[in-house]
C-alpha cells in the first residue's frame, strides 16, 4: 500500500473520535449560540443600581445645612459558610461589640443579620481586610446636619426610607432626591463583582440654596434659648426677614421640632402688634388724619351693654400716634369703628392675613379671621387691637416688612436661586408708610417699646400682649399670655424686619418686658455683624428721662405694653 494512503487512513482513524466533538462544538457555537449566550448572560450578568447622594442644602452664603454622605453598613448572610464563633471573635472587636454577644446574635433565626448600620471608614476597611465568611459590606446614605439642631424646624427630616418627611426636605423632595445610577456587572464564581459598563448615568442633583443666613439663624435661636432660660416659656418664635425683597433670613422656634414648623403652621392672637394694621388702614383710607383725636375714656369703655374694653393705663384724648405710643385698646377700637368693617377686612387681607403667603413650605396655615358677615361691633373693635383673629408669625413679620419697604407686600422667599422677588401688591402709599414708620419709631422712643431701643439707631416697632385662649373653657386665660414685639431696623433704611413671640412666659408677661428686650438683643447682633453705622446721633445721657410711670411699670409690669 502506498505510504501516503496508509498515513491518511491512520490519521482519519486517529481523528475519528474528535468528529462528535467537532459536531457538538459546531452545535453549541453556531446553532445554539444565541440561546446559550442568553442563558449565560442571565446567569452571570447583573444590573447594579446605586442611588446618587441626595443634594446638599446650603444657606445663602453656601454653608452646609444638610448633606448626605455615603456610609457603609455591615451584614451577615447565614446562608454562607458562617462560623458564629469566628464572626464574634473577629468582627466583634472591629464593631466594638462583645464577641460573645455577637456570636449569640449570630445563632438567632433568620438568614440576614445587620451587624452595623453605620460603619466608619476605618471600620469598613478593617472589616473588608478581615475577610470573614458571610460578612458583607453594603453602601448606604445617611443625612447629616452639621450644625446640630440649627434650623431643624425649617429643614425638617427624612423618613426611614430616605425620603423627605417634613420641612424643606419634604417640600423640595423632587429636587433633592438623587436619581438611580445603573451599572452592568458580572459576578464570578467567588461572588466578586466584575464591572462591565454603565447602563444609566445620573448626575448628582445641584445643591439647594436657601435664603437663610446660618449666623442670623443661630443668633435668633440663641436669643430664644436665653428667653426660655429666663422666662421658662412654653414656646417662642423669631423670624427675621429682609423687607426689601421678602427673603427669610431666619426662622427660629423654641423648642425645636424637625417635624413641625409653627412659624407657618400655627396661629396666635397677635394683640397690640395688630394695631399697626388698623392704623395703616385708617391713614391710607383717610378715615383718620394724624391730627384727629379720640377720647380714650380714661381706660374703661363700655362698647356694648355688658362688654367693657380696658386699657392698661388710663388715657384721655389722644391722636393716632399717641394711641400707638400708649397702646390704647379703646383708642384702637374707636379708630377701627370709624374705619368700618369692610375697609378693615379689606386691608387685613391686603396685608396678607387670612391668606396663605405662598412660601415654599408644607402645611402653611392661612390664619383665621371672622367672615365679614360675622363682624359685629364688638368683634370689629376687638379685631382692631388684635383679638379674635389668628395669624401666623410669618404673616405678621411680612406685614411689618410691607411698611418697612415703603408700602409694598413681598412674597416671603425661601429659595436663593436667582428668582426675582415676587411683589404681591402695594398695600399702602409710601407717604402712609413713612407716617406709620414715624409713629412706630415714637412707640420705641417714648412709648411701650422703650426696652427695644438700641442707642444710636432708629428702631420702629410695636409691642403686643395677648391673653391666650383656653381651648377647654373657650375663655381667655388670666395667667397665660403671648408676649410679642414686631418691628424693623434701622428705621431710616430698613434692613431687617423682626418678630419675636414668647408664648406663656412665667413671671413677667408683657411684650415690653419679655419680647422687646429679645428684639433689641437680636437687633444689636445684626447691626454689629453687618457693621451698620448708627443712623442717629446718640442722645447725651442727661437727656434720657425715665418717668416715674415707666419705672413703676418696669417694676410691676402694669405700666407697660399690652
Amino acid at each position: 500500500m502506498d505510504t501516503r494512503l496508509r498515513l491518511a487512513i491512520a490519521a482519519s482513524i486517529a481523528l475519528l473520535p474528535t468528529l462528535p466533538l467537532a459536531v457538538q462544538l459546531a452545535r453549541f457555537q453556531v446553532m445554539e449560540h444565541r440561546s446559550l449566550d442568553t442563558k449565560a448572560s442571565n446567569e452571570f450578568n447583573r444590573s447594579l443600581e446605586e442611588v446618587v447622594p441626595r443634594a446638599d442644602i446650603l444657606d445663602r452664603n453656601g454653608k452646609i445645612l444638610a448633606q448626605s454622605l455615603q456610609v457603609w453598613s455591615a451584614f451577615l448572610d447565614k446562608n454562607m459558610d458562617v462560623d458564629c464563633a469566628v464572626v464574634g471573635a473577629r468582627v466583634g472587636p472591629i464593631l466594638h461589640v462583645l464577641p460573645l454577644e455577637l456570636s449569640r446574635r449570630c445563632k438567632a433565626p433568620g438568614r440576614f443579620m445587620t451587624l452595623s448600620k453605620t460603619l466608619s471608614y476605618e471600620q469598613s476597611q478593617a472589616l473588608a481586610a478581615a475577610r470573614v465568611e458571610g460578612v458583607g459590606i453594603a453602601p448606604s446614605q445617611e443625612r447629616f446636619y452639621p450644625n446640630g439642631t440649627l434650623a431643624r424646624g425649617l429643614l425638617g427630616q427624612l423618613s426611614a426610607d430616605g425620603r423627605g418627611a417634613a420641612g424643606v426636605e419634604l417640600a423640595f423632595e423632587s429636587r433633592l432626591a438623587g436619581k438611580p445610577r445603573r451599572l452592568k456587572i458580572i459576578r464570578d464564581g467567588a461572588g466578586r463583582t466584575i464591572y462591565k459598563s454603565l447602563e444609566l448615568d445620573s448626575p448628582a442633583p445641584a445643591p439647594l440654596k436657601l435664603t437663610i443666613d446660618r449666623n442670623i439663624q443661630y443668633t435668633a435661636e440663641e436669643a430664644l434659648q436665653d428667653a426660655a432660660d429666663q422666662y421658662k416659656m412654653a414656646a417662642g418664635f423669631a423670624v427675621v426677614q429682609d423687607p426689601n425683597n421678602g427673603e427669610i433670613l431666619a426662622m427660629a422656634s423654641y423648642p425645636s421640632n424637625p417635624l413641625k414648623n409653627p412659624l407657618i403652621q400655627d396661629t396666635y392672637e397677635p394683640g397690640s402688634t395688630f394695631k399697626m394694621i388698623t392704623a395703616a388702614a385708617a391713614l391710607e383710607e383717610g378715615a383718620v388724619k394724624e391730627s384727629d383725636t379720640f377720647f380714650c375714656e380714661n381706660g374703661v369703655y363700655e362698647i356694648s351693654p355688658g362688654v367693657v374694653i380696658h386699657d392698661h393705663e388710663p388715657l384721655g384724648t389722644a391722636n393716632l400716634a399717641s394711641i400707638l405710643e400708649h397702646s390704647s385698646n379703646i383708642g384702637a377700637a374707636k379708630v377701627v369703628e370709624r374705619l368700618g368693617a369692610l375697609r378693615f377686612y379689606r386691608y387685613a387681607r391686603a396685608f396678607g392675613f387670612a391668606n396663605k403667603s405662598g412660601v415654599d413650605l408644607p402645611g402653611e396655615t392661612a390664619g383665621e379671621m371672622k367672615p365679614l358677615s360675622d363682624m359685629t361691633k364688638v368683634a370689629l373693635a376687638t379685631a382692631g387691637y388684635g383679638y379674635g383673629i389668628g395669624v401666623s408669625p410669618l404673616q405678621m413679620v411680612d406685614a411689618y416688612s410691607a411698611i418697612a419697604s415703603g408700602g409694598t407686600l413681598w412674597e416671603p422667599e425661601l429659595l436663593k436661586d436667582g428668582r426675582k422677588p415676587v411683589r404681591v401688591r402695594r398695600v399702602v402709599s409710601e407717604e402712609t408708610a413713612r407716617t406709620l414708620t414715624a409713629m412706630l419709631e415714637n412707640v420705641v422712643e417714648k412709648g411701650t417699646g422703650v426696652p427695644a431701643r438700641i442707642p444710636g439707631y432708629r428702631i420702629a416697632g410695636k409691642t403686643g400682649t395677648a391673653r391666650q385662649l383656653d381651648l377647654l373653657t373657650h375663655t381667655y386665660s388670666n395667667s397665660r399670655y403671648n408676649a410679642s414685639f414686631a418691628g424693623f431696623l434701622p428705621a431710616s433704611r430698613p434692613r431687617w424686619s423682626i418678630l419675636i413671640v414668647i408664648s406663656d412666659p412665667k413671671g413677667q408677661y408683657y411684650g415690653a418686658q419679655v419680647a422687646a428686650p429679645v428684639f433689641a438683643k437680636l437687633g444689636r447682633r445684626l447691626l454689629t455683624a453687618a457693621a451698620v453705622l448708627p443712623d442717629r446721633a446718640p442722645l447725651p445721657l442727661s437727656s434720657v428721662r425715665i418717668g416715674r410711670g415707666e419705672l413703676r411699670g418696669l417694676a410691676s409690669g402694669r405700666g407697660l405694653a399690652r
Binding site: I64, L69, Q70, S124, N147, I186, Y195, Y218, L527, V532
Partner: protein, 100 residues
C-alpha cells in the same frame, strides 16, 4: 493559521476585559470609600466651624459679644492722604483704588 491568530486575539481581548472589569470595580469601591472618608472629614470640619461650636469656644476663651457701639469707622485718614497725592490728582481712578 490566520484563523487561529484571530481566535487567540479574541480570547486575549476577553481576558483583558475581565481583568479590567475587576480593576475598575476595585477602583470604584476604593473611590466610594475615599469619597465617604472625604465627606466625613468635611462634615467634621463643618461641625467644628458651626456657629454653636465657635460660640462655645469663644466663650471658653473669655470672649464677649461686641455691640454696635464697638464699631469704628476707618479709612477716612487714608482717603485724605490719597486725595492729596500728586499722582492721585493726576489719576483719579488711582485715588479711588487707594482710598478703598
Amino acid at each position: 493559521m490566520a484563523a487561529s491568530l484571530v481566535v487567540l486575539g479574541l480570547a486575549w481581548q476577553q481576558v483583558q476585559a475581565t481583568r479590567l472589569g475587576y480593576q475598575v470595580e476595585k477602583a470604584r469601591r476604593a473611590e466610594q470609600l475615599l469619597r465617604g472618608r472625604l465627606g466625613a472629614l468635611q462634615m467634621k470640619l463643618e461641625t467644628d466651624l458651626s456657629p454653636a461650636q465657635l460660640a462655645n469656644q469663644a466663650k471658653a476663651l473669655g470672649m464677649i459679644q461686641a455691640g454696635p457701639e464697638s464699631l469704628r469707622v476707618l479709612g477716612a485718614g487714608a482717603a485724605c492722604a490719597a486725595r492729596s497725592n500728586f499722582l492721585s490728582r493726576l489719576f483719579p481712578g488711582l485715588a479711588r483704588v487707594l482710598s478703598t
